[in-house]
Amino acid sequence: MSSVFDHNFEIQWCPGCGNFGILKALKAALDKSGKNPSDVSVVSGIGQSGKTPHYVNTNGFNGLHGRALPVASGLKISNPEQLVIVHGGDGDGYGEGGNHFIHGIRRNLDLNYFVHNNQIYGLTKGQASPTSSLGTASGIQPSGTIMEPINPLKLAMSLDCGFIARGFSGEPAHLTELMLEAFAYKGFAYIDILQPCVVFNKVNTYSWYKERAYKLDSNYDFSSKASALEKMEEWDEQIPLGVIYKKEKPEYFEKASLTNPPKVQSSDHKQYWNEILSLYK
């Protein structure tokens, strides 16, 4: 099925890469959103996730490693009409750009932050990432990494992020629904997307995830912090997919309550000339 969001540019991901499922889900979600491509911006950093803006027909900004969130934040503040989707990775977003993840949640702009989490560095060929399991071996960590993995969902929870979800690239239809829910959420909507790296991660494979992943059903209460924290702890035996925690919070512009918000369209500040001049009289 063709989509207005299709874009004919050669995809550079490895055959079988988990990113294909994410791209498929993204395009389906954009189709269902009813948005026009010019009203959507996809922002990324560096890593395999960073290539996403090149593969969809939307506005895009492929910036620096780890710095997708700040670019997206500036964009959203100055052009709030855009649907802004940020694609990061576990190295990009939890390592290099970890500070922006923390403060992006605090700022609570109406952003969608989708992290392609494959627990490994793909682009630099297989080093341990912040989410790699303890003991993951690589060329740099031949005896296995001695760094303990972060639990990004719990990190987000500790900052009271209002929308925390987990998706799986092997379940693109389910992921599409999560993305649509994120678009609809007013505030910082965060989805950690599990994504097998078929080349460098020989442990967390499609079948490894398939054996463990299960979808949270309608009985699950995503408003309960206690249940959310319990679900966020699940990993070795089973891994929950879905919206794990959600609550309404005032987003950036509600909090800022600007008396005279700027508009993108050019406006002449000279009309304020005399008023500002009088400050220095």
Binding site: S38, N57, L64, S78
Partner: protein
């Protein structure tokens, strides 16, 4: 004989020295004097010794000066620290501080006057009133200024204290009343940068607080209460520059500001603005480095760094305002150049200029043109827009997301093709570099040659740049009065370096001296690199203090003798 007076107010942080100085300066301005004040402060919230120098005259002033007429000491340390001042300079201090002192000390019970007026904190107003009387000025002007600067309750207390101080004083040097310059404003460098930037249409300022750039942010945040601009405090400087880039991508004139340490963190972002051709204005308010350096002091040590900051090669513009009015003009120009050529533009200021206050003639809004450089007449098939279209002059039509409902725009930090897609192509590697670097040639047409100070072709030529303008100008005047033949070229636009005047005047110059606030003579190095012209001597200051006209005069004289 022109009357020039220079008052030093010295005291500890937290004593209200800034407020006292601002009121005194404002009152002098209201009394019709031209005023130039500069600040010297330590990196602490309480204690230490800070001072403000307030120089005023019936003629326009361009610089601070070491020649003092009066010293106001707010605490004992201020008396001790300034004890080396010439014995002809009288001191004013509270009675409680009275002690052996080589200079004449005027002391009154200012603290009791303040207490009797309602608060001991108002003792600086009592001193102001006393000094106001010293110069035989009209107390009503001081009172009006106090009323303008405080809320009603505090104004009442301070007005009373000022009156008591005034009544206790004696006229020592009666100054004649002047007419207030109604067409002047009274502004410091960072306020002028904020004003100019807002008038240029800046709608987004994003920064992490860092002295001495923070007051730009404070000023713009004040505007944001009423006017259409958003000021965002970022989690770090890396976020600050990337947010400003994101905002510029969104189609809004955007700026970030910091000092050297923060700029070091922003460096990769500078390159991002360069390769993605996202317009950006960056203020770097210099202080001595490296690392934390002298946190609250002044320097011109970042020029060489700015010229090549970030890996690779890309076009950039570097502008260093020479004074408060130039801060205003340059911030307007910075936004125009950034937008017109789609590149990063630096405004290189420093602590001295950031904090120095001066009255300047009002700007005429008609003199300043603010243009839109966005492509508003695209007529293309759906989704065929190319952000990096190769054009003859290297400038591609720029649009922002959502500007056209049938086009999308892609910015890329990788080397890219015309649409903005990553590429490994050798063809695009060359074509895109050529395209970007063409802009650096093109921008030269919009840059301004250095200002000529004095009469050219005299024996010795002085090179200087940025905030030292006033002091250098005054030093050159004094040297010529003293029988030396000296003229100067003062640079505000630094990169690409305008070389016409240099080549024109330097050929016949016998002797070339650079005057800079750094260790290596960074302008001299740049001039050598761009023209092959070598300086003969260097007059350098790197103690974190702005060289006065007297210091520059003496150092040049020493070189020439």
């Amino acid at each position: 004989m022109t009357i020039i007076k220079n008052i030093l107010i010295s005291g500890a942080a937290g004593q209200g020295i800034d407020t006292a100085a601002v009121i005194f300066e404002d009152a002098l301005f209201a009394a019709g004097y031209h005023v130039f004040s500069n600040k010297d402060y330590m990196s602490r919230v309480r204690g230490g010794n800070n001072f403000v120098q307030i120089r005023f005259s019936e003629n326009e002033l361009h610089s601070h000066s070491d020649i003092l007429d009066l010293c106001i000491a707010l605490d004992e340390e201020a008396l001790t620290i300034n004890k080396d001042l010439s014995s002809s300079i009288p001191f004013v201090a509270d009675k409680s501080l009275e002690k052996e002192h080589g200079n004449h000390l005027y002391s009154e019970d200012f603290r009791t006057m303040a207490k009797d007026s309602g608060s001991e904190k108002a003792f600086t107003s009592a001193i102001s009133g006393y000094v106001w009387k010293y110069f035989g000025l009209d107390i009503q002007i001081l009172k009006d200024t106090i009323n303008k600067n405080f809320n009603e309750k505090l104004a009442d207390i301070n007005v009373k204290a000022a009156q008591k101080g005034f009544d206790a004083g004696q006229i020592k040097e009666a100054l004649s009343p002047k007419q207030k310059h109604d067409d002047h404003i009274f502004i410091n460098g960072n306020q002028a940068l904020a004003f100019g930037s807002f008038m240029a249409g800046c709608k987004f300022y994003c920064a992490y607080p860092m002295t001495p750039s923070t007051s730009v942010m404070n000023e713009l945040a004040k505007y944001a209460q009423t006017y259409p601009i958003i000021v965002e405090q970022a989690e770090d400087e890396i976020a600050a520059i990337n947010m400003a880039i994101g905002s510029s991508f969104a189609g809004v004139r955007s700026m970030t500001g910091t000092s050297g340490g923060g700029l070091s963190l922003m460096v990769e972002g500078i390159g991002l603005s360069g390769i993605s051709e996202t317009p950006l204005v960056i203020i770097n308010a210099m202080r001595p480095g490296p690392a934390t350096g002298f946190a609250t002091r002044t320097a011109q040590g970042d020029l060489s760094f700015i010229l090549t900051a970030s890996q690779g090669e890309f076009p950039r513009v570097v502008l260093a305002p020479k004074d408060q009015a130039d801060c205003f003009r340059i911030s307007l120009r910075a936004f125009e150049l950034a937008d017109k050529y789609q590149l990063p533009v630096f405004i290189l200021t420093d602590q001295f200029l950031a904090d120095a206050r001066k009255n300047i003639k009002e700007f005429d809004p008609e003199e300043y043109i603010v243009s839109s450089y966005l492509a508003d007449d695209l007529n293309m098939d759906d989704y065929t827009y190319q952000r990096y279209k190769l054009t003859e002059n290297g400038i591609s039509p720029r649009i922002y997301p959502g500007q056209y409902d049938n086009q999308v725009v892609l910015h890329d930090s990788y080397e890219h093709d015309e649409r903005g897609h990553d590429t490994e192509s050798a063809y695009y590697g060359t074509a895109m570099m050529d395209k970007r670097m063409k802009k650096e040639e093109l921008v030269k047409d919009d840059l301004i040659e250095p200002e000529l100070l004095g009469v050219p072709y005299a024996g010795t030529m002085i090179l200087s740049w940025g905030s030292s303008y006033g002091a250098v100008k005054e030093a050159i005047e004094r040297l010529n009065e003293g029988g030396f033949s000296v003229f100067g070229l003062h640079f505000s636009d630094l990169w690409p370096l305008p070389v016409k005047n240099l080549k024109k005047f330097c050929a016949k110059s016998q002797h070339l001296i650079t005057v800079e606030h750094n260790y290596t003579g960074q302008l001299a190095k740049l001039v050598k690199q761009e023209t092959g012209i070598s300086v003969t001597d260097k007059v350098l200051g790197y103690d974190g203090r702005q060289m006065s006209p007297e210091t520059i005069y003496a150092k040049i004289k020493e070189v020439l003798s």
